[in-house]
C-alpha cells in the first residue's frame, strides 16, 4: 500500500479540470467501509444494484464511481435508500475488475471527496448529482505541524509494535510528508469504525482532520500496547509451561537411564482410571482427586508419594456404596438360629424381633445388640448365625485389651506407618458396607494415657452419629449406619454406662447339665467326629458318659471345655481307627477314666453336716455359679469382727449389717446380747485365695451368725442367696440361674431366694426345677426360719437358758415347689 506523493497536487488539479464542479454519477453504497482519496482499496461487489452501478461506471470513459457509506451496517447495498447513506463520500477510479462467481472484485483508487447535491435515480441503481469538495484548508500552520509531528511519533510507536509490517511499507509511511494523505492512509488501514472514519472524511480543514487522526491513532496505539502486553504475558506463561514440559521430558529420560522409569506415570494413570470408574460419594471423589494431583507432582522417590498411593488405594478399596444383597426371611432365620444353637429360646426370640424390624424398615438404623454371658455359651456363634440369617458378611474383632483409641479410629496420616482403624480395616476386608460386625469382649476394653477406646466406641455405636464416622487416617466421613453391630461381654458391669446405654443387652446364662447333654449330643460330638476325621458310625458316647464329662472333667457355664474333652476322646478313637480298628467305639461312663484319666474336678459337694456357724451360700462367677461356705466362729473374750477370705468392701459391710441386725434383734431371735457383746467373732469364706465381693451373700452371713449365736445348725441341704438390709429386708440379687444350677450340681435340693427373684425361677430349666424345693424370703426372719434347724444341736457357749423358740409357722417363707408348667 505504497502511496504516491509527488503527483498528488497534479492529480487533484486534473481531476478538477476533468470533472465539472457538479456532475451526475453512479453511486456505490458501502457497508462498514469508508474510502478516502488517494488510497487504493480492493472491493467486492456482489449485490445486484451495486453490480449495475459498477457496470454503468465502467461503461463511461472515466470509470469513476461515487462511494457512499451506509449509516448502519444492517442496510445492504440492494435496499439502501438515500436516507440510509451519508451524503459525503469519495469518488473512486476503478482500476481493475475481475468477476469471480458473479462477484465483482474491484481495485479502486480514491480520487476526490464529494457531496451529494441531489439524488437523481434509485433504480436500477443509485445515481446522484454530486459536487466535489474543495481541498482541505490549513488554518493554523503551527498547529498542523505540531499535530503532524505527534502523529509521526505515534506511527513510529505503532510500527515498533508491528514487526510483521514489511520494511518497504515502513519506508513509505515514514516518508509520507503530506499530513492529509497520511491521515487518509492511516484511516483506511486502521479499523476505526464507520463513524470515526466518516467524520475524518467530512473534515474540511487539515487541522480538524489531523486532530481527529491524532485522537484515533493515540487510542489505537494504546490498545495495541495493552494487547501486546497481554500477548507478552500469555507468551510468558506459555514459555514457562513449555519449559516445565521440556524439563519433565528430560527428567523422564534421566529416570529411564537410571532404570526408574515406568510405574510412576502408569501408577498415577491407573489410579486415575480406577478413580474415574469407582462409585464414590462426591466429597470422597473430590478429596481423592486432590490427593492424586498432589501425587502426580511428586517424584516417586518422595516419601509422601507412597503415603498418598497407599491412601488412595485404601480409599478406592473401601465399600463406600457397596452393600451385600439382603435376603431376609424370618422363617429361614429362625431355622438357621435353631440349627446353630440349642435352647436359648427367649434369646432367639429377641434376635428375631430385631431382625423383623430390619426387614420391615430396611432403611432403619441397625440395632446394636450386646450379648452378655459366661464364656462358651455361644455369644460369638450367635453373631455368626445372625449374619447367616441376614445373608450378610460377618466380621469379628476382639476389643479385649485394646487400650488405644487409634486402634479403632486410626492414626493421622502425618505419622509414619499410619493406618486406618480396625473398623475401616474390617470394612475393607469384607468389601461391603453392611456387614454384621462383632465387637468381641467389649467389657475388656482398657484405657490409658493414649486415649479411651470406649469413648471412640460411643461414636461408632451411636446410630445418630455413625453415618459420618471419620477415621483419622481417611479423614473422610464413612457411613457406618448400615453395619449391624453386635457386641459381646462376659460381664456387664465393666462396660461404661453411656456405652451400655447404646446397646440392647441380651443376657445369656450358663447351660444346665441337661442342656449341655443335649448340646453335646446334637452338636459337639458330631462336630468333633468330623474334625478328627472320623465317620459318624465310628464313635458313640453314651449319655451317662457325657454327664460324667460335664460333672467331673469340666467346670464351666458354657460348653467349650466339654467340647475340648469330647475332642480328646475323639482323637484317641481316631488313633485306634488309624491303627486299624474298624469296629464302632462306644464310650460308656466306666470307660471314660481309661481315656481321660482320673476326674479333674470334684464337684463342690454339699457338706454332709454343717456345724453351727456354717452356712451354705451361692456365688456367681464368670464361669457360672458356685456354692460357697461361710464359716463363723466365736472368739471368747475377743472383741469386734474379724473377716478373712479376701472379702471385698461390699461383702465386709454386708457381714457387719448381718451382725448388727442380729445384735439389735437378739432377744426376738433368742440370742443373748452379751454373747455378741462379749465375744469377738471371726468370719471366714473359703477358698481363701479367691477374692470375693458383692452383697448377695448377706442372707448366708446372717444365717451363719445366727446359727453361731443360737447354736442351731444350718440345714446342710439348703443354700441361699440374697442381699440384706439393716432393717431385715431381703433384696433381690442377680445370677439366679447360674447359682441355682451350681447348687443343684452340688447336691443341694433346698434353695432360699429373695421373694423379688421369683421371676428368675422360670429361667431355671425344668428338669432341675423339678428336683428342687425353692423357698422365697422377704425378711431375714423368713430365711432364718427356713435355714436353721429348729433345735440347737448342743449347748453353745456358756450356760444360759435358751428360750423355747417355736418356729413361727406364718413366718416360714412360702415354699415353692417347682410345679409342672
Amino acid at each position: 500500500m505504497a502511496k504516491n506523493t509527488e503527483n498528488t497536487q497534479n492529480t487533484k488539479q486534473e481531476a478538477k479540470l476533468n470533472a465539472p464542479k457538479q456532475f451526475e454519477i453512479a453511486v456505490l453504497p458501502l457497508q462498514n467501509t469508508t474510502l478516502f482519496p488517494e488510497t487504493v482499496v480492493p472491493l467486492a461487489v456482489g449485490r445486484e444494484r451495486s453490480v449495475k452501478s459498477v457496470e454503468f461506471a465502467l461503461s463511461t470513459e472515466e470509470k469513476l464511481i461515487a462511494c457512499l457509506t451506509t449509516k448502519t451496517a444492517e442496510v445492504t447495498g440492494n435496499e439502501a435508500k438515500q436516507s440510509d447513506l451519508y451524503t459525503v463520500g469519495t469518488i473512486v477510479n476503478i482500476k481493475r475488475m475481475m468477476r469471480n462467481d458473479g462477484v465483482m472484485q474491484l481495485i479502486v483508487q480514491g480520487v476526490d471527496r464529494i457531496r451529494v447535491v441531489e439524488w437523481t435515480q434509485e433504480q436500477p441503481f443509485l445515481k446522484a448529482r454530486v459536487e466535489t469538495l474543495p481541498e482541505l484548508q490549513v488554518k493554523d500552520l503551527e498547529e498542523v505541524e505540531a499535530l503532524k509531528r505527534n502523529i509521526m511519533g505515534l506511527v513510529q510507536e505503532a510500527l515498533a509494535m508491528l514487526p510483521q509490517v514489511p520494511p518497504e511499507a515502513r519506508m513509505a509511511i515514514m516518508s509520507q510528508n503530506n499530513p492529509v494523505q497520511l491521515s487518509y492512509f492511516l484511516a483506511s488501514v486502521l479499523d476505526l469504525g464507520v463513524e470515526t472514519e466518516q467524520k475524518m472524511l467530512e473534515a474540511d480543514t487539515t487541522d480538524e482532520l489531523l486532530s481527529q487522526t491524532h485522537a484515533a491513532l493515540a487510542r489505537e496505539v494504546e490498545i495495541m500496547q495493552i494487547r501486546s502486553k497481554i500477548a507478552t504475558e500469555a507468551q510468558g506463561e506459555m514459555d514457562k509451561s513449555q519449559r516445565d514440559y521440556i524439563l519433565r521430558q528430560q527428567m523422564k529420560a534421566i529416570q529411564k537411564e537410571l532404570g526408574e522409569d515406568d510405574g510412576e506415570k502408569a501408577e498415577a494413570e491407573q489410579l486415575r482410571e480406577r478413580l474415574e470408574t469407582a462409585d464414590l460419594p462426591e466429597e470422597v471423589r473430590k478429596e481423592s482427586e486432590r490427593e492424586l494431583k498432589r501425587m502426580e507432582q511428586l517424584p516417586q522417590a518422595a516419601p509422601d508419594y507412597h503415603v498418598i498411593r497407599t491412601y488412595l488405594e485404601y480409599v478406592l478399596e473401601l465399600p463406600w456404596k457397596k452393600s451385600s444383597e439382603e435376603k431376609l426371611d424370618l422363617n429361614e432365620a429362625r431355622k438357621i438360629l435353631d440349627e446353630d444353637h440349642y435352647g436359648l429360646e427367649d434369646i432367639k426370640e429377641r434376635i428375631l424381633e430385631s431382625l423383623a424390624v430390619v426387614k420391615l424398615r430396611p432403611d432403619s438404623k441397625s440395632p446394636i445388640l450386646c450379648f452378655v454371658g459366661p464364656p462358651g455359651v455361644g455369644k460369638t456363634s450367635l453373631g455368626r448365625s445372625i449374619a447367616r440369617a441376614l445373608g450378610r458378611e460377618f466380621e469379628r474383632m476382639s476389643l479385649g485389651g485394646m487400650r488405644d483409641e487409634a486402634e479403632l479410629r486410626g492414626h493421622r496420616r502425618t505419622y509414619i506407618g499410619a493406618m486406618p482403624g480396625r473398623i475401616i480395616q474390617s470394612l475393607r476386608r469384607v468389601a461391603v458396607n453392611n456387614p454384621v460386625m462383632m465387637l468381641d469382649e467389649i467389657d475388656k476394653l482398657g484405657n490409658d494415657y493414649r486415649g479411651d477406646p470406649a469413648a471412640a466406641l460411643l461414636e461408632i455405636l451411636d446410630p445418630q452419629q455413625n453415618n459420618s464416622f471419620r477415621d483419622h487416617y481417611l479423614d473422610l466421613p464413612f457411613d457406618l449406619s448400615k453395619v449391624f453391630f453386635i457386641a459381646t461381654a462376659n460381664q456387664l458391669q465393666p462396660i461404661p454406662a453411656p456405652l451400655r446405654d447404646r446397646m440392647e443387652i441380651i443376657q445369656l446364662a450358663g447351660y444346665s447339665d441337661a442342656e449341655k447333654l443335649n448340646i453335646a449330643k446334637q452338636y459337639l460330638i458330631a462336630r468333633q467326629i468330623k474334625e478328627n476325621g472320623l465317620q459318624e458310625n465310628q464313635l458313640e458316647i453314651t449319655d451317662d458318659a457325657i454327664n460324667l464329662l460335664t460333672a467331673r472333667y469340666t467346670r464351666e457355664a458354657g460348653v467349650r471345655q466339654l467340647e475340648r474333652t469330647i475332642g480328646n476322646l475323639a482323637r484317641k478313637v481316631a488313633l485306634k481307627v488309624a491303627e486299624g480298628n474298624t469296629e464302632k467305639v462306644t464310650i460308656t461312663e466306666n470307660e471314660i477314666k481309661s481315656y481321660l484319666g482320673v476326674p479333674r474336678f470334684y464337684p463342690e459337694k454339699a457338706r454332709d453336716e454343717n456345724p453351727a456357724g456354717v452356712a451354705t451360700g451361692m456365688a456367681w462367677t464368670e464361669m457360672g455359679g458356685e456354692i460357697l461356705f461361710i464359716e463363723a466362729t466365736k472368739l471368747p473374750g475377743g472383741s469386734g469382727l474379724t473377716l478373712t477370705g479376701q472379702l471385698g468392701d461390699v461383702m465386709k459391710e454386708s457381714v457387719q449389717a448381718a451382725r448388727s441386725y442380729l445384735w439389735s434383734h437378739a432377744s426376738e431371735l433368742g440370742i443373748d446380747p452379751n454373747e455378741i457383746k462379749e465375744n469377738g467373732v471371726h468370719v471366714h469364706v473359703p477358698a481363701g485365695a479367691i477374692p470375693k465381693d458383692g452383697p448377695s451373700a448377706g442372707v448366708t452371713m446372717a444365717s451363719a451368725l445366727a446359727s453361731l449365736y443360737t447354736g442351731k445348725k444350718v440345714r446342710s441341704d439348703t443354700s441361699m442367696t440374697g442381699e440384706i438390709t439393716l432393717s431385715g429386708l431381703v433384696f433381690p440379687v442377680g445370677g439366679i440361674k447360674e447359682k441355682v444350677l451350681a447348687a443343684h450340681r452340688a447336691g443341694i435340693r433346698r434353695i432360699i431366694l429373695p421373694q423379688k427373684n421369683e421371676a428368675d425361677v422360670e429361667e431355671i430349666p425344668e428338669d432341675v426345677r423339678k428336683e428342687l424345693e425353692i423357698i422365697t424370703a422377704n425378711r431375714i426372719d423368713d430365711v432364718l426360719n427356713a435355714a436353721l434347724e429348729s433345735q440347737p444341736s448342743e449347748p453353745v457357749g456358756k450356760n444360759y437358758a435358751i428360750p423355747d423358740m417355736e418356729p413361727h409357722s406364718d413366718a416360714i417363707g412360702e415354699s415353692l415347689i417347682a410345679k409342672e408348667k
Binding site: A2, N4, T11, E14, A15, S59, K63, N93, R96, M98
Partner: protein, 102 residues
C-alpha cells in the same frame, strides 16, 4: 514503479543509434491525437490518455485489467537533446520515437 491516481506509467526502452536515440514505449490503444511529446534539456516528456473506445450501449465488462486514464512518462538522457529532430510512429502497438541529431 508505483501506482498513482489516475496516472499510469508505460514502460519504455531507450536505444542509442548511430544518428541519435530511439525510444520504444509500450503504449497500445492510444490515439495519436491523445499523445503529447515534449523535450526540455536532457529530458523527454511523454503524456497522454488511453481512452476506452470499446464502450458502447449494450456492452459491459466481464473483466477489466487495462488501465484507462492519463499517463505520463519522463525519460532522462545522458546529454541534452534540445533541438533534436523528432519523429514517431506506431508499430505493432508500440510507440517508436526517433531523436535524430540535426
Amino acid at each position: 514503479m508505483r501506482p498513482s491516481g489516475r496516472l499510469w506509467y508505460p514502460s519504455a526502452d531507450i536505444y542509442q543509434t548511430p544518428d541519435g536515440w530511439l525510444v520504444k514505449v509500450e503504449l497500445a490503444g492510444v490515439s495519436a491525437e491523445d499523445l503529447e511529446i515534449d523535450i526540455q534539456g536532457n529530458q523527454l516528456y511523454i503524456a497522454g490518455c488511453r481512452r476506452d473506445k470499446t464502450c458502447a450501449v449494450g456492452v459491459s465488462y466481464q473483466q477489466m485489467e487495462i488501465t484507462y486514464s492519463r499517463f505520463e512518462k519522463t525519460l532522462e538522457f545522458p546529454a541534452s537533446i534540445d533541438g533534436a529532430k523528432l519523429e514517431h510512429n506506431y508499430t505493432d502497438g508500440l510507440l517508436l520515437i526517433y531523436l535524430k541529431k540535426r
